[in-house]
Amino acid sequence: MALPLTFNIALFSTLFFVLFTDVVFCNNGRRVGDVMDTEFGGFSVPLEHSFEVDDVAQFRVRGALVLKAGREPSVALTQNQLSEEDRAKLKEVAAVDGLYRIRVPRVLLQADRQTERQLEGYLTAFVRACAMVESHLSDVISLHTDVSGYLIGVSIVTLPGACRGTEVEDEVDLEVFNTTLSVMGPVNAPGPETALFLERMEMETEKKGKNPQEQKSFFAKYWYLILGGAIFLVVSSAAQPPAGGGSEQS
């Protein structure tokens, strides 16, 4: 079975083409905003970023956030490296003091079914692109949820946060993200601490009760002062009449 060489080449190239497009498709990831269930009970949402010289946001997938619902929601991040092209662009954006933005879709962490998780819209945040470059892509991303597990906000800061204008020479520094990620729910604000206060008061009264000196009556405690005062009064009143008489006479 000897097929013509041209046909062979054509088949090969077609195959290659199909394969190649497939690969490209894979690279591109899922449709933006897709939520995927993962094996270990969590689910994943895309984390997207955008940095453009003209500052018109064009979000591309940066990685996938694997969120795990539950009482203590946890999160993990798998993210791609920055390509050569992106690195150059990021530096370019940093040079014009552009913004590096990220966004995540609004999701509900607590829901069981996938359909309930997804909400319309995105949560966005930004840092200055220069800060991103100068910190060598080390950023801290925190996701904030509300009481019922809805994602309400995302924030990103870089460490260090300042733009000092230092040139990043080594291209390698801009390849891998060094991300610290956390999910934060609301803290319960404290109410008035009455129990502890009452306890303290009780302890004080007890102490007072134990201390015999405190139990003594007013007279028992200060008899010497009262006596002294009384003597003083008597003495002074005894001394007064002559003096008064004297003043009357003059």
Partner: protein, 962 residues
């Protein structure tokens, strides 16, 4: 240990007492003005000739009596806010005033001389329709109250119910009016709209239905708006569609007779609903047969019903307002007609004949900065020669009451618009002419050494002259008795005092009237009425240019936004004189979402106002080339945020150089769970003096002073007491970063919040413990500052430490604000307006999350008060001693030139202005400071030193000789 705590507490309390006023200081630094609101019912006390009171009932649910000589309040009763306390009707009989309150919930009788309550009864439920006094044989003994489904009759003397009857067919018939002509019958008039009038006649004695009939009236929809009873029980209605009057004799007829107005030779302005106005001077007698018919906006007719025929007595054209008044047996008609552009004239006419009474013209001056006259209240009285004299009270659109005596003397005016202040600002007064002259010298560009010297000399001369004249005035005034020295406040003599304690209060009221009030005396210096203000307008007042930029006049801008459409207009004015500025504000065809004042100034020193419209386009005002250029330069550092509470969305934008914007962050709080109720930033004019707090171990805890921080308060949609909560989000307004997120469980609003320095204080209702609680959040950077020179939201990677503590507060609160001083050195107090009318000055040190539960050596070193769960209200903390501020809605604080002093204005139904000294007057000598003693001691010491020095010298010399 306990002793130590006690000592410590004592010490703290002693240290932190607020300087309360002494008896002789009452009214020295403070003033209060009491208002009643927009008048809806008013009656003159016609009991005696010398009576000098008018009773008014207002939209603000206030019932009061005013002194007609001075306009001051005799007494005032303030009822509950909202429909619960709404005054439905005011009937006046002799010494008693009857009020129906709260949609027919209560019937009250007041004694009008002293304002005491005679009696009060609770009426049966049902929505109120009408009320009237019922008399028989010239004696008025009863009052009838008509409700949707029932009519009840009560004795005037004690309020007891005589009888109550259900109205027949009340499901279909809309009963609207009750009438009695004094013949023992009570007529209840109802209508089935566009079908017929239903009339039920009750017997006064036992409430039995005497008669019941209905009359065809397909053109009628509202009896009260278009009908009146005239003469001997003649129901007369006016209809605009058929341009005719309909008449019905209630006693005999069962059909209405139509009288086309054309047959009377009358014409109605097209589209105008004719209005009938009759008068019934005595409830025990039928109404008079004379009545007014308004046929156009400015045309009134005095008509008479004579043997079933209508006769035109007089045609008043133009006539703005008409009113009947009765004194003795005489009834007169007062007619206000426009005279020229600055005044209106009021004339009296005999009601019986329509003849004009001689010498009864009264001139009502129209205020060019006021509104049009809206209502005319006439007090008529018989003079000695039996002629009729009168005074009038005119109410204008801007809620002003003006009381005028013949021939046009304005006795008093009351600016009732001030009972509803929406927002206010305090503006520094300008310098005096001489000071301004000096300022001008430095302001102008230098032109040669010689001319500068000359200028300097001349201004010094002017100063000298001013000083001498001041001395002369002092000397001159000192010779006069104190009572004669009056300091009238006028625009001319308004000038800044040494410590900038006197300022101009610019107040914006809901009616659209602006006021300029001198803060020292409370005198209204200027007023300006803005007509065409939408009914539900939101106001934002901004000071664009202060008085510091002589010769440029100060400039305030008022943003008026229609809440429904979002369309806004700007009113630019001079806050000192109230005059509209020559600067033309930009036209804003798009709804405005946000406005922000930048610290950037144009070449005329006016701060730039940015307005963001619904297309997220930004426009600047003023928008000169200079401004646009500056904006372009700093565009990338201008951020703003928008809040859409209906979607729970907070979004941040950045300005671009072409004045468009870009969305840079978004935070979305799902509305299913909680809704955003308020967003509070910090005040831009706030200074924080100390960057940190020194702790017990001498280290410093630095404050997190983020000027862009926003405190967002949310409330849960679930209102069940077990599940309801309130949330508090601290968000950076530039980056959208959530700095802190907390929920207060089992809590609900209304939440009052104050956000300042590095702390947020809020008050809420705890549904679990059923009490009001205060909570304080403080933010600290830690013991090291990240960047001590400048704060940038973009470069603060570390989250601050958050401390929080809560306390029980024994009262609910109406409003809350923090004191503000020039440099922020003085400790802060919270000013809390209580529903009881007190204004509490609570030291911030009691709301400090670092208050320790267990006292340690270090906390004592730091002067921290040991934690106690309850905040007590000490009576000496009330800054308004016995000057109750009723229904306080807002507190405004402004710094003065003295660091220790903060100016406070509390507004609600009343306005109260005072000064507070949170750390006492550390920079002021006391009033009774003994200058003589200190100077004589100093002198004595000086001489003693001189003498002893001399003596010592002599002694030394003598010793040397020895």
């Amino acid at each position: 240990m306990a002793k130590l705590i006690w000592l410590c507490l004592n010490f703290v309390i002693l240290c932190s007492t607020v300087g309360a006023v002494f008896e002789d200081q009452v009214g020295k630094f403070d003033w209060r003005q009491q208002y009643v609101g927009k008048v809806i019912f008013s009656n003159f006390d016609a009991q005696s000739q010398s009576s000098k009171k008018v009773i008014v009932a207002t939209e603000n649910n206030v019932f009061a009596s005013l002194n007609i000589r001075t306009g001051e309040l005799f007494w005032r009763h303030v009822d509950a806010i909202g429909p619960e306390g709404k005054i439905d009707a005011l009937l006046h009989h002799g010494q008693d005033a009857l009020l129906v309150v709260g949609d027919g919930r209560l019937l009250r009788s007041w004694e009008i001389n002293i304002g005491g309550l005679n009696w009060e009864i609770v009426l049966d439920s049902g929505s109120f329709q009408s009320a009237c006094l019922i008399g028989q044989q010239d004696i008025v003994k009863h009052v009838a109250v008509l409700k949707k489904t029932a009519i009840s009759l009560h004795y005037l003397s004690n309020g007891h119910q005589k009888w109550i009857e259900n109205l027949p067919e009340s499901e279909t018939v809309d009963y609207q009016s009750v009438y009695s002509g004094g013949n023992g019958e009570v007529y209840v008039l109802g209508t089935v709209p566009h079908s017929h009038i239903a009339i039920v006649v009750y017997s006064l004695d036992d409430g039995e239905i005497i008669r019941q009939f209905s009359v065809e009236a397909p053109w009628l929809s509202n009896i009260q708006a278009s009908c009146a009873v005239i003469g001997e029980g003649m129901l007369t209605c006016a209809d605009s569609a058929t341009v005719s009057m309909y008449m019905l004799d209630l006693e005999t007829q069962t059909e209405m007779s139509q009288i086309p107005l054309q047959s009377l030779g009358l014409e109605v302005t097209p589209g105008f609903q004719p209005v009938l106005r009759s008068t019934q001077p005595n409830a025990a007698r039928p109404p008079l047969s004379e009545f007014f018919l308004q046929v156009g906006p400015e045309q009134h007719l005095l008509l008479q019903l004579n043997d079933g025929q209508i006769v035109t007595l007089r045609d008043f054209n133009p006539a703005l307002l008409v009113s009947f008044a009765t004194t003795g047996e005489k009834t007169i008609a007062a007619v206000m007609s426009p005279k020229n552009t600055t005044a209106c004239s009021v004339n009296l006419f005999s009601a019986e004949s329509g003849r004009r009474l001689l010498d009864t013209t009264l001139i009502f001056p129209l205020d060019p900065n006021g509104g049009k006259p809206e209502e005319l209240y006439v007090q008529a009285f018989l003079k000695k020669d039996d002629s009729v004299g009168y005074r009038v009270m005119v109410q204008t659109e801007d809620h002003t009451l003006t009381f005028i005596q013949q021939p046009g003397r304005v006795m008093w005016t009351r600016e009732e618009a001030l009972s509803d202040v929406v927002t206010m600002e305090m503006v520094d007064l300008p310098l005096t002419g001489t000071q301004a002259e000096l300022e001008g010298e430095f302001g102008k560009k230098a032109d040669g050494l010689f001319s500068m010297v000359l200028k300097r000399l001349s201004s010094q001369l002017i100063l000298l002259q001013a000083w001498i004249s001041h001395l002369w005035k002092l000397f001159y005034d000192a010779r006069k008795p104190r009572s004669q020295v009056k300091n009238e406040v006028t625009i001319e003599n308004l000038s800044r005092d040494e410590f900038n304690l006197q300022k101009m209060m610019v107040m914006v009221t809901a009616s659209g009237k602006l006021f300029g009030i001198d803060s020292k005396t409370g005198t209204i210096v200027w007023r300006h009425y803005l007509d065409n203000i939408p009914a539900n307008a939101a106001f934002k007042l901004m000071v664009q240019r202060t008085t510091a930029h002589f010769p440029h006049p100060p400039q305030c801008t008022l943003l008026i936004k229609d809440k429904d459409t979002g369309l806004a207009t700007l009113h630019v004015f001079n806050p000192i004189f109230g005059k509209k500025s020559h600067v033309t504000p930009p036209a804003m065809p798009q709804p405005i979402l946000q406005s922000l004042m930048l610290p950037v100034m144009d070449q005329d020193y006016a701060k730039v106002l940015l307005l963001v419209d619904d297309q997220y386009k930004v426009s600047a005002f003023p928008s000169t080339k200079n401004v646009l250029q500056q904006l372009q330069e700093i565009a990338s550092t201008i951020f703003f945020y928008l809040v859409d509470s209906s979607q729970g969305r907070l979004s941040g934008y950045r300005l671009r150089t072409d004045l468009s914007t870009e969305l840079i962050w978004e935070v979305v709080v799902p509305t299913e769970v909680q809704k955003i109720v308020s967003v509070k930033g910090k005040r831009p004019n706030e200074h924080v003096h100390s960057q940190g707090r020194v702790m017990g171990d001498r280290s410093v805890l630095y404050k997190y002073l983020n000027p862009n921080l926003l405190a967002v308060v949310t409330e849960s949609t679930d209102t069940h007491p077990e599940r309801s909560f309130m949330g508090i989000l601290l968000i950076d307004g530039v980056t959208g970063r959530i700095i802190h997120e907390a929920v207060q469980r089992k809590a609900k609003g209304p939440v009052h919040i104050v956000h300042s320095e590095n702390w947020v204080v809020y008050e809420y209702w705890s549904t679990k413990s059923r009490r009001n609680e205060f909570s304080v959040i403080e933010l600290y950077e830690g013991t090291e500052l990240y960047n001590s020179t400048v704060f940038s939201s973009l470069d603060r990677p570390h989250a601050p430490q958050v401390l929080q503590q809560s306390y029980i507060f024994p009262s609910s609160i109406s409003t809350m604000e923090a004191t503000l001083t020039e440099k922020g050195i003085t400790s802060r107090h919270l000013l809390i307006g209580l529903p009881s009318g007190g204004i509490l000055s609570l030291p911030k040190m009691f709301l400090d999350p670092r208050r320790p539960e267990i006292v340690t050596e270090q906390s004592r070193e730091e002067n921290l008060i040991p934690y106690a769960p309850e905040l007590l209200i000490r009576s000496e903390w009330f800054i308004n001693y016995n000057q109750t501020v009723t229904r306080v809605r807002g507190i405004y604080t402004a710094p003065s030139g003295l660091e220790s002093t903060c100016l406070v204005v509390a507004y609600g139904l009343d306005i109260y202005q005072t000064r507070v000294y949170p750390s006492k007057q550390f920079d002021v000598l006391k009033d009774d400071y003994d200058y003589m003693l200190i100077s004589s001691v100093l002198l004595a010491l000086f001489f003693a030193t001189m003498i002893s020095k001399r003596l010592a010298e002599v002694k030394l010399l003598n010793r040397a000789w020895r």
